[in-house]
């Protein structure tokens, strides 16, 4: 029963959302791009010095 519920959740809800998202962009950035010099995501300095969490300059993809 649980397996069927999970199947419904996966194929009828999650899969259509996944296909829709992937038609716009790949959430996992899988494509190799030979024109890119780097795959690094650089992190800019945080304003909050009490933590090392940083604000992200998401230059990935």
């Amino acid at each position: 029963m649980r397996r069927m519920m999970l199947g419904v959740l996966y194929y009828l809800l999650l899969t259509p959302i996944a296909l829709l998202i992937r038609s716009v962009r790949d959430p996992l950035h899988r494509r190799w791009d030979m024109n890119k010099a780097t795959y690094w995501s650089l992190i800019t300095a945080s304003e909050d010095k009490s933590r090392t969490f940083a604000q992200r300059a998401d230059n990935d993809c």
Partner: protein
């Protein structure tokens, strides 16, 4: 602000607890050592109890609890993985969704509930997985400033991160994200070669020198795109970990000539060559990542953590290539060390300092951070169980043990506080004479009951290391592989050997610790870090002229390293260890009673 922080890692792999006071590491231990379940992922209840007991405190004395990763962020990554894989990936979803929809999403509530039995629970602070690794690498390091590089499989999103450690703390500079992971690439080959993911990676690394890297090109062309700055992407078409519960499938089979090796089946030249190839690619990536870390920070020293930092061959190449003046590797570089890193990070934010810098050394106390057993406790155990033993003064004991080692006997060495991290460093070790050409085979097959190809590591007096190894810096945690010094080598003669035939040729005057490529995973031993083990090495040198011992962990294959005197005695009696040094007591196998009804003990220990 008072500053006593309890760090925890749990619920994935190798759970652990660590206690940090004002930035100083007080104690740390992996849960597996108490539960006797290898890499135990359960909540580290007994490790927590130990840390509190060691300091004579209760949970209400603790100012904060630090958890080593962010469960909510991890959940978002897991969800994104399914969005990237669906309609594939249902098998994985079916197995993991109930956990995520249940307790895993509320991990911190689970932590609070688990701790509640020990007293009022202090505030729980979360650190990201790589933030914990970076803190474990930098804060206890001997450097005031350093570049910090963390490389592992995956925590939340990050798989590779570069940080800058300074007097102001740690700042993250760059990251690579899941699914592009050097750790997962290595684990995929570990799986394909028939070893267990998350524990068999050492075996793959040990296998690499038997092969030639003939698959390196196909790996570089098809599996991983590496940019000049070391950043990379995997080609997920060839991996299964997004879709299922295994690492590889048809993609690898098409590239590497058929199905994966079945666990425990004979090794073939293909596995040797696959190991050599992925090891070579890993070294290239790590080298480039380190150069980028140097360029981004401008620092001359490097700190390393994350599971890939346990790849001591890659670490050795970093040292040899002199990208940095010196490197320091967190001895618990894997997830267990996350408990320590999270605690150090929270402690730093609460004003903890790095007082160990004044002494010039690191802040890990030789990784001797686990439980110790007092002499009278050990003696009571021996008397209660009528175990024949003799008590020795420290220097006389060292001389006596050295004499037995020099006569070719194998000694279990149980002294002081247990090590934190995967390596035995002379507190819970099995020792032998490295000059004996038969010692590797005896130790592998009659004591550890493990594969014959696996190499053993040497401990050497720090002052004598340069006479035996071409080592450019100290290696206190056995995490740097170095070439055997030219003067110690014996040239191979006769027809060229391949694969496991290579094992039969002595390659140096310390053959038991010389791998087939003339390398060794060295531990340098300093008197101030471990006086008892240093004394023994010195006694062995006095007896033989050789300041080196074979040092392997005190356990058998598949079992965690021993913790208590009883576990040490049991392992001693079940294996062909000849002598056991339990604190100041020496036990001779020849004087022990024959154990009854313990013949099928190996069936109880799962294969690693």
């Amino acid at each position: 602000m008072s500053n006593l922080v309890l760090g925890l890692s749990a619920f994935y792999h190798d759970s652990a607890a660590a206690l940090v006071r004002d930035g100083r590491v007080v104690s740390a231990a992996q849960e597996e050592r108490f539960t006797r379940r290898r890499h135990d992922p359960a909540f580290p209840r007994r490790a927590v109890d130990y840390c509190l007991r060691e300091s004579g405190i209760s949970l209400e004395d603790v100012d904060a609890v630090a958890f080593y990763e962010d469960p909510a962020l991890k959940f978002r990554r897991v969800l994104a993985t399914y969005l990237g894989a669906a309609p594939g990936g249902f098998a994985s979803f079916r197995d993991s969704a109930p956990q995520w929809l249940g307790w895993k999403l509320s991990t911190l509530r689970t932590v609070r509930r688990e701790l509640a039995g020990a007293g009022p629970v202090p505030p729980i602070e979360v650190r990201r997985h790589h933030e914990s690794h970076a803190a474990s690498a930098f804060y206890p390091s001997p450097y005031p400033r350093a570049a910090v590089l963390c490389i592992d499989g995956v925590g939340e999103w990050a798989t590779t991160t570069i940080w800058h450690g300074t007097e102001d703390g740690l700042r993250q500079l760059a990251e690579l994200r899941f699914p592009h992971s050097l750790g997962l690439l290595y684990s995929a080959f570990t799986y394909f070669c028939g070893f267990k993911v998350d524990s068999g990676e050492y075996k793959l690394m040990g296998l690499a020198p038997y092969g030639t890297p003939r698959y390196e090109r196909v790996i570089r062309e098809r599996l991983i795109d590496i940019r000049p700055d070391g950043s990379f992407r995997l080609n997920l078409r060839y991996f299964e970990f997004l879709r299922g519960q295994v690492m590889t499938g048809r993609g690898f089979e098409s590239l590497f000539g058929g199905p994966r090796r079945q666990p425990e089946s004979p090794l073939t030249p293909r596995e040797f060559d696959l190991a050599a190839s992925v090891q070579s690619v890993t070294e290239q990536v790590v080298d480039r990542l380190a150069r980028t870390a140097r360029d981004l920070t401008g620092e001359r020293t490097l700190c390393l953590a994350g599971g890939v930092a346990l790849n001591c061959v890659a670490n050795g190449k970093l040292v040899d290539n002199q990208i940095f003046d010196e490197i320091w590797v967190q001895p618990a570089a894997g997830d267990a060390g996350g408990a320590l890193g999270a605690a150090l990070s929270v402690s730093a934010a609460r004003g903890g300092s790095r007082d160990h810098l004044a002494g010039g050394g690191d802040g890990m106390s030789g990784a001797l951070l686990g439980p110790a057993y007092a002499d009278d406790e050990i003696e009571a155990y021996l008397r209660e169980n009528r175990i024949p033993h003799r008590r020795w003064e420290p220097s006389a004991q060292a001389t006596e043990v050295a004499r037995h080692l020099a006569a070719g006997r194998v000694v279990g060495w149980f002294q002081g506080r247990m090590e934190f991290g995967p390596r035995a460093l002379g507190a819970r070790s099995i020792l032998g004479d490295p000059r004996d050409p038969g010692m590797q085979s005896v130790m592998n097959q009659k004591i550890k009951f493990r594969e014959s190809f696996r190499p053993f590591a040497p401990s050497v007096l720090a002052a004598d290391a340069k006479d035996y190894f071409d080592l450019k810096q100290e290696s206190p945690y056995m995490l740097i592989v170095s070439p055997i010094a030219e003067a110690r080598r014996i040239a191979a003669d006769g027809p060229a050997a391949t694969g496991l035939e290579l094992l039969r040729r002595p390659r140096s005057d310390i053959p038991a610790v010389t791998h087939v490529d003339y390398s060794a995973r060295v531990q340098t031993v300093a008197e101030e870090t471990d006086p008892a083990y240093h004394r023994l090495l010195r006694a062995f040198k006095e007896a033989t002229g050789c300041p080196v011992l074979v040092n392997t962990s005190f356990n058998v294959r598949g079992e965690p390293i021993v913790n208590t005197p009883h576990e040490a005695y049991t392992c001693f009696m079940r294996t062909n260890i000849d002598m056991l040094a339990l604190g100041p007591f020496l036990l001779d196998k020849a004087e022990q009673p024959v154990p009854a009804g313990d013949d099928d003990w190996r069936a109880d220990i799962p294969m690693d």
